[in-house]
Subunit: 421 residues, 2 copies
């Protein structure tokens, strides 16, 4: 089955927003085993939208349109799609009631425009919108399916996950079921080499690698008659991947980020944490603190961008800074020692580096970063040579720090805590 | 003139990357006064790409294709575009030399594939790529222009700015010249109301408002015979906007972010700064520290997520935390006092709030945030009720903190420093 995406909205044509919906929908359609050969963006214009829908109907089986379902006169996706498909719009009583309730809850009154959102193409499937007033719509005709979704991602994504994924899975005989194996601490090309034989020999399940932000994600997808059968197909592949990547797998849960995995590990091992940052200037702490529940383990953070702050706050000695420099193995180590001492946390991680654009030398170029992780006195320091601009170097540094934290905590737990058990 | 964007790449159709090029190109084309009615994404497939180019040529004057100019056999944008336009490919000697030099500099040898990048459509304009090996190409025929750009944004953007903007400006009789008036501390709808009469009455220059991240940007664009005339057209409009928005305008420079404006202000007034963060957990510091040159003014940062850290590091008193709570006007004030005292910085900003998803109560709901700004002992505390999820609340808080810092520094400078002069 071939799917085609049509994003409707003048704000996309003006470049006011980036089309993240298209990336999300493409990725999910690929997961579902649907091929996508074309995506289009078109404005809220009847003639041009009609044109784009007609062209898409000629070359694709399923059309997913997003945007243009709002209450204003500008919004005409539903009207145009219905017209092209030869369906009249009629009042859809359940949608009318939902809109009424939505406004009652808010304590305000719907305007005449809002009722437009309850008009639906005849014989269409209407999909509830739990996060807004514009319902989704599915029109089926002559072997084609036209799916209309609201534009705001916080409405589109939940609706797609809850209603459209099951609908599209039902389209084929059987279901599609995926797990994502999330790997850190292994480079992209090495990871791909490590699974090349599996990818080459794959039929069902399939394995698709995605590299992002110092991580490699392997999406393993099975097609089967039902979920039980799909899971049974996945089990041996997931086991084989676990054999190959071992502790480098930090999660198999779609919603677990690397920082969440680190926080979960801290919570699980009952370890408190503190951060001392120079070049990343708070980004590491910010990423950790975006994980709800962090308050149980996070003690404190220090942003010691200047040498003076490194001395005064973390107690790094002046001769060390003079002899070895602020960006050095020794300074990173001293920062991690100092942070642990003043915060009395179990884990202290320290970052120092040259993010650029200035400050680099032949000996210490832009991108040179040292990260030290202190787990109850056992300090590991690692050196990195990163590339990219200032923002990219800082972002990569944070990912490297999270990976190092995870490795050091696991190693400590194995060597020390494990030995004591 | 109507422009149409065609992004070429299977990675876009699979959703592996987000199409930021389309947003960038759309925005810049709008700046140039070009209308964009359609955008398409298509894979590296000869038949489908041919189709998309032919359709676009029927409805648009200028086609901008991005991606698919690489050295591998997959990359066929140039080949397909040349074929559709009826041009044969011939070896382009200057491009061949540049590729040779590029590899010499890297100390490696080009492969057979790399020479493919020096083959150019006959009579095309070849545009140097200063950041990669794939040159840009412009093919002109029968009143249409087909512009081929490399896909990586760090190659596409500099090439577009340096070569394509002048080319497209030259296309029309005269030039397009824009300035962006960046406003903070005024809400989106208020700002739009304040300029409604100007927008309604506009012909040349035009004013286009964009709201983002607690800021409103007004892009003022003039069309004129030359830059001098364009600037003369802009001057009265920029003066009028300055009259209306006054000190809420933080910059008229395209590349100046809000954080850069704050850092520039600190540098200009010779004021050092420190940060104390609870719910934002380092994000405010991280945003400030992304500005190169910050090291001259940034003293230190404290991430005091827990009450204990607020007490121990910033000296917030236990009874205050108990009576007023960690999220209160008084705690924010005490944090800003403490941060200034220990860091001895001129400006100290403190943030405390409830980012959710848990921790909210009827009295103190999720989204309640207090920000305190201490400029040499003069402390201003502001209360905010923000909406969105945890990440959104934290991000908005950082923008609010930067805006408050800017206001407090300007006010201090006017009242105290100004009075002494």
């Amino acid at each position: 089955m071939v799917v085609e995406l049509i994003s409707v909205g003048t704000e996309l044509l003006l470049g006011n927003i980036v089309n993240t919906n298209a990336a999300y929908l493409s990725e999910r359609c690929a997961d579902l085993g649907l091929s996508c050969f074309y995506q289009s963006v078109v404005g809220d214009n009847e003639e041009r939208l009609t044109d784009v829908i007609k062209t898409a109907l000629k070359r694709s089986d399923i059309l997913i349109l997003s945007g243009g379902l709002g209450p204003t006169a500008d919004d005409l996706t539903k009207e145009v799609a219905a017209k092209v498909m030869g369906r009249e719009l009629i009042m859809h009583e359940p949608s009318r009631k939902l809109i009424e309730e939505f406004f009652n809850k808010k304590g305000s009154k719907p305007t005449e425009n809002n009722w437009k959102q309850a008009m639906m193409p005849k014989d269409a499937i209407v999909v509830d919108n739990e996060n807004g007033t514009a319902p989704g719509v599915i029109i089926e005709a002559e072997g084609k399916k036209v799916i209309l979704l609201p534009g705001p991602p916080n409405e589109l994504i939940p609706m797609f996950e809850k209603n459209i994924v099951p609908y599209l899975s039902g389209e084929k005989s059987g279901i599609i079921y995926s797990r994502t194996v999330k790997i850190c601490g292994v480079g992209e090309s090495k990871a791909e080499t490590m699974v090349k034989d599996l990818i080459d020999g794959q039929t069902n399940p399939t394995i698709a690698p995605y590299a992002k932000n110092c991580e490699v994600h392997l999406r393993v997808t099975a097609k089967a008659a039902d979920e039980k059968e799909a899971k049974a197909l996945l089990t041996p592949v997931l086991r084989e991947l676990t054999n190959r990547f071992g502790a480098n797998i930090y999660s198999m849960d779609k919603d677990t980020t690397l920082e969440k995995a680190v926080v979960d590990l801290l919570l699980d091992k009952n370890l408190t944490v503190s951060t001392a940052e120079s070049c990343t200037g708070g980004m590491l702490a910010a990423r950790l603190i975006n994980v709800p529940g962090i308050s149980n383990v996070y003690k404190s953070g220090y942003i010691t961008y200047s040498n003076k702050a490194k001395r005064k706050i973390l107690g790094v000695k002046q001769p060390l800074l003079e002899n070895k420099g602020a960006v050095s193995k020794e300074t990173a180590e001293a920062m991690a020692k100092g942070a642990a001492a003043i915060s009395k946390s179990d884990v202290a991680v320290a970052v120092t580096g040259i993010a650029g654009p200035d400050g680099g030398t032949d000996e210490k170029p832009v991108g040179l970063v040292y990260i030290a992780c202190n787990v109850r006195g056992k300090i590991t320091v690692k050196k990195y040579n990163l590339s990219g601009n200032r923002a990219k170097i800082r972002e990569t540094t944070v990912s490297c720090a999270l990976i190092l934290m995870r490795q050091c905590i696991l190693k400590y737990d194995e060597e020390v805590a494990g030995g004591k058990r």
